[in-house]
Symmetry: D3
């Protein structure tokens, strides 16, 4: 998920602008124009850090020196400095909250993702852990990047990069088989086709019709097992990827992983995030 | 927090645009141009609903009829339809995820806020429950509005609407007393002045220097009690509002409320949100 | 490629704004404020029409009634009215050039694409004709949509919807095999992986390494034949899609189609466009 | 047509953003963050180069060193390096297509314009070759600048910089004479007034009424000759500029030039462009 | 200066957005969501009204009915209602200040312009009164339109619609003669060429070199007379327009007008504006 | 009112873009690409300078060196250089007018504000002089900042930073008392509450109801005296700030100041501005 820094910079300025309104009135009143400070961002609890690249881009574009003490995707043990800043005090204070909000959300996402990824890996499964498009509005790029840094799969990035036939499409068209058939005829060769099945029968139909990926939506473990077994019996298990989704969380994820599915996707990775606790501390006035 | 709908519409379009990329390729391939459907958004769990106004603005601006079955700020018991939609199928399917992401986040915030507000109220306290500026980046308006709908106080909206002297300002200036003094001289008469105290002594100093609000930051319950007592002893308790902040959550909130503080602020209200579970279901193809 | 009309409207307004500057000074001086007219857009030569949807969106958003006399993707014989307009004269005259520029470019693209698509189809081949990302700057959406309306395949929409390993990636990494291997490990399961081969050997390597699509770049017909043959000999022809690209045009397209490739992509479809000749004629002053 | 580089930079970023979507996923997966490369853009066929200034602005704003080997408006013989690049590999690969699309279109326009300009000049005529507003949507600035670099006249830049009375204005007002009269009364002194004549009589009427420029629209050579002659007979030939437009191309341009008109304008210069063939080649990995 | 209303709407929303911040908190707290009112905008002093078109566009786009009681460019005697509004109370109160700020500035400009225009006309002179580019930043369109509504000439609209050679250009090039010569060779045929003369000699030189308009900059009345006389003696007075500019105001404007110049331009028309006094009064609560 | 320079830069570019259209055609024709000059901005009359920070930001972002010879808020005696520039001639000439328009407006505002502030101070009063929201549209930030630099109070910055109950709110709600009561219940603790009184009785009612600030709107001096006296008699004078507004100007300001009010606000400070006379002079061609 590479965007040149100038493109990211523009997104970050939108966040900053919203918080500034007509400006930081506290800082402009209290802090003289040319004061310079050294400051540090400290992770107050352990977790996977994400958002360092974005933080550096925002700070450097505002003329603040920023030295990362950890890389995106790495684990901090808590109580550690993750970023050192040096520059104009007014600017650092004005950007502080926007900066922390971004890193703490992204790190929160990366941390939760990584915990689940590692749990599955530790249990010996190769199942991929993926997020969904259930991100905070406007934060699709940052939320998905945080999942990626946590070791998760970004899944469909937005509405134009994969054919994903969902329950409502099928409700309108009439059958999953017909939907997959139309998609195979009309979609660009460059796209994978995934279909969301509401039953074991639908899963088999979709696979037979040539879908690249079958999503078993809100299946019970028993249903998942049955679907996988039928795909194997029909000899088409290796022609499709199998994804399970719906009602899966950190507690029950291993049960699903154990059934030989390829991908487990969880909305919780991005829609229900616990921010990582961070603070910015001014350490020294340098001028 | 009133914004004319055209202004909100523009914010919502930014969210939608990000998810669309070059367009909803699944829908354009599967669903004929003129299909019309009736659909419903269903809250799958109980909670306080927020985001209905925004949902209606987004849908109506896209030519979709939207009928609210609940008002913003009201409680749903779960399993209930909160919004009925009718219109072009392609448009409804393309906007579905953006719409649900917004309502589920806002409702999640309103629900958590309301639970704490009601807990404090039920215990007989008048303490206000406020959020902070620890919102998701770019969502300051929506996150704060959701807090408000949940019965919470929005606190400072952004950097230009109150003087809030924080630890880092004081670190640069040297003392809370001096900082409050400068603020009183230079700030517009239209602004309240709040100062963040790191100790009981700082709290008293700030109050004496004329701050309108004293924030007791990361105080233990014992320290809070001491600060309030000293303010009373000095006869200045009723000249200031007292806010406590830091390490407060649903579990320990009543302990702080019991000490006679005016405001309790919690970052958790907006930085660690559990989305309310919603789904959009196509009910009928009408054309 | 479905975008809700409000999203397209915003793109179209950017085009209009550029041409307006501080406004249409001729029209404001000559045409009284409330004059209403009927007008028609006429295709002065035969071709496939594209851009009608966009024209209607732009016109209707400006308060002009627009009645299409042909659908996007249909063939006009030339000399025919394709769109009837009715409304405020100033507005129609101010938008005329922007409107015609868009429809004539999109129709030019659709027409050229369709001619090649039909040629290949008439010769009995199932080869898909695809465009590339060699569009006019800023017109990726409209250019690709026009290709689609002409019967072509849109190929990769932009940089985030498929893994496409190109010569310069391979130059940096060292070998196509290694590049495909890394992509297979790290890419999201939701993406197809295509690799651009510079030789028959590279093509085979990429296929063996598990690429979904092999692009034979600037291959002579002889080399194409050899590559296809080798893929068949190795028994992996049906595991990959084969795309040829480079130096292909309307004249030599059948030669490549005859070799059993799956996709032929042509930059010319979008980078070298002959606009379809259109004019807008005011037919009647109605008020 | 001078715009400060920061203003052009913003236009170029819009182009880049459209192609990036959520980012270059191929490059982010394959190319490590800190790889640096040297690369070259090569013109694979002869032509007039345009877009070098824009390319440098875009590259330098992204932190890439760019050294031009040719100036805008100069001729390349083909097979030559026109721009050398050095910098971060990910950035260069992500911007490659946007960059090439812009230079190849602008150079295509400059090349076609220059060929016609030189043809007319070689035949000994002083007639100016001008483009129209028939540009690609959103590319008015770049298309017109390319015409200028090719030696052509930019004509009216957009709707606010000249009074240009066209057929549809006259259709509403009733007569060209009346239209010119109104324009002379109401237009700012700072504007030239041009009128589009559909017949020899209209041309004479417009000149008599005081138009600065007469456009002979879709006139046959015979009609052009007649119009010029009549203007001379009336003694007003030197009070107006005469422009011919409509159905003129590289083949018949000399015939019109030979009749002593001042300006020949051709829509083809910008609406039907053959892109100049370019490629970007990574030459060396430097870090 | 015609812009379609949707384009103006976008400019007006930018103004509104700046004033709203996170919303009108007073109105959202005090006024229930569905209250409807009738209100009136009253001109509290006499003047020329401008901005009615913009006011209607802004109001109607926000869903407020707006009925103009006067047209742009007409005179009000003061104490009169100029616009009647009806609609949602919250929206009307939130937009009130932005609306009044725009109309009062535009009307202030139109009033001052008209007073000078009428003074010159009453004295029997045909001299045009023009503004300059000395507008408020970002308000070039609205300021120039107000001048136009007041009966003034808009002069150059921005930097791309006329060649205007100023003192600093001449300082770099060396002589006004050389500057005009270069401009005549290189400028598009569609542009007028104006040159700013600092002395009588420069004025004559510029006219001889073929400038369309000569600006006598900061000339004393005596110098203006001398310049006009010399132009007549050389027989080139009727080949150029003569503009005077600099240190001209309502008091001395007739002296300059009396010397037979064609245009008098005044920066004061847009840089030093007295706003027309307006108020918005809620007349009736209707729902 | 501190905004990081990148945020201000973006606002300034919007101003510049509007004036540029498709570019500075005079400069591009006359001035070779690489000419460098030294230039100076000269204040031609005495006043308080404002806008230097903005000028530096704009110039430096365009690659022009800018050396301030005076600080924002300082007094110039007229005829003095306030800013020295050095850099690319084309860029300096293209930005000249936008730059001067901004500094001359801001300095005009600061100068008028300062004159009134000093007059009140010289007479021995502590009354604050405040502006209103009657700014030029889109210039709220710059106009308010200029007032601040002139020594004035910025008052409410926009609609979200204070509760200000105005005549129209009261007209809808029914009484000032009720309005203040609702505001006290519902407003965030972080906001001050001001109420606009139309009579002495309303002023007293509002103060009793707990408003923080009472605005005496369009009161005669006699009414102001009466209101202040009654507040004292009720013993609530020191619980509220008293602001007078309406029909106050430089002439009568001392009369109001003499009555012991806390704040005098004047719309004239920002809605009726006389620009400070400035010019930019190229001093030397350096390359």
């Amino acid at each position: 998920m590479f965007l040149p820094r100038k493109i990211i910079e523009r997104k970050l300025f939108e966040f900053l602008k919203e918080d500034l309104g007509h400006g930081d009135i506290t800082t402009s009143i209290l802090i003289p124009e040319n004061v310079k400070v050294k400051a540090e961002i400290i992770a107050k609890e352990p977790g996977i850090i994400a958002g360092i690249e974005e933080a550096k881009i925002l700070l450097e574009s505002l003329g603040i020196k920023a030295e990362a003490k950890i890389k995106d995707g790495q684990k901090t043990s808590g109580g550690k400095t993750i970023l050192k800043l040096e520059g104009n005090a007014r600017t650092i204070l004005a950007v502080e909250r926007t900066l922390l909000n971004l890193i703490s959300r992204m790190s929160g996402i990366a941390t939760q993702t990584n915990r689940i990824v590692e749990k599955v890996k530790a249990a010996g499964y190769k199942t991929k852990i993926a997020c969904t498009r259930k991100t905070a509005p406007g934060l699709e790029y940052f939320d998905k990047k945080a999942v990626w840094l946590g070791g998760g799969d970004t899944h469909r990035l937005h509405l134009d990069d994969m054919i994903l036939i969902k329950d409502n499409h099928i409700a309108i068209i009439g059958s999953i088989k017909e939907a997959v058939k139309i998609a195979k005829e009309k979609a660009s060769f460059s796209k994978k086709i995934e279909a969301e099945a509401a039953s074991v029968d639908e899963a088999i139909e979709a696979a037979r019709a040539g879908a690249d990926i079958i999503m078993l939506d809100n299946f019970s473990p028993k249903q998942v097992r049955e679907a996988v077994k039928k795909l194997e019996e029909e000899g088409i298990r290796d022609k499709v990827l199998v994804e399970v989704s719906g009602r899966i969380n950190e507690e029950n994820v291993l049960e699903f992983a154990s059934m030989g599915v390829d991908i487990i996707s969880l909305g919780i990775l991005t829609h229900s995030v616990k921010a990582l606790d961070l603070s910015l501390e001014v350490k020294q006035v340098t001028a």
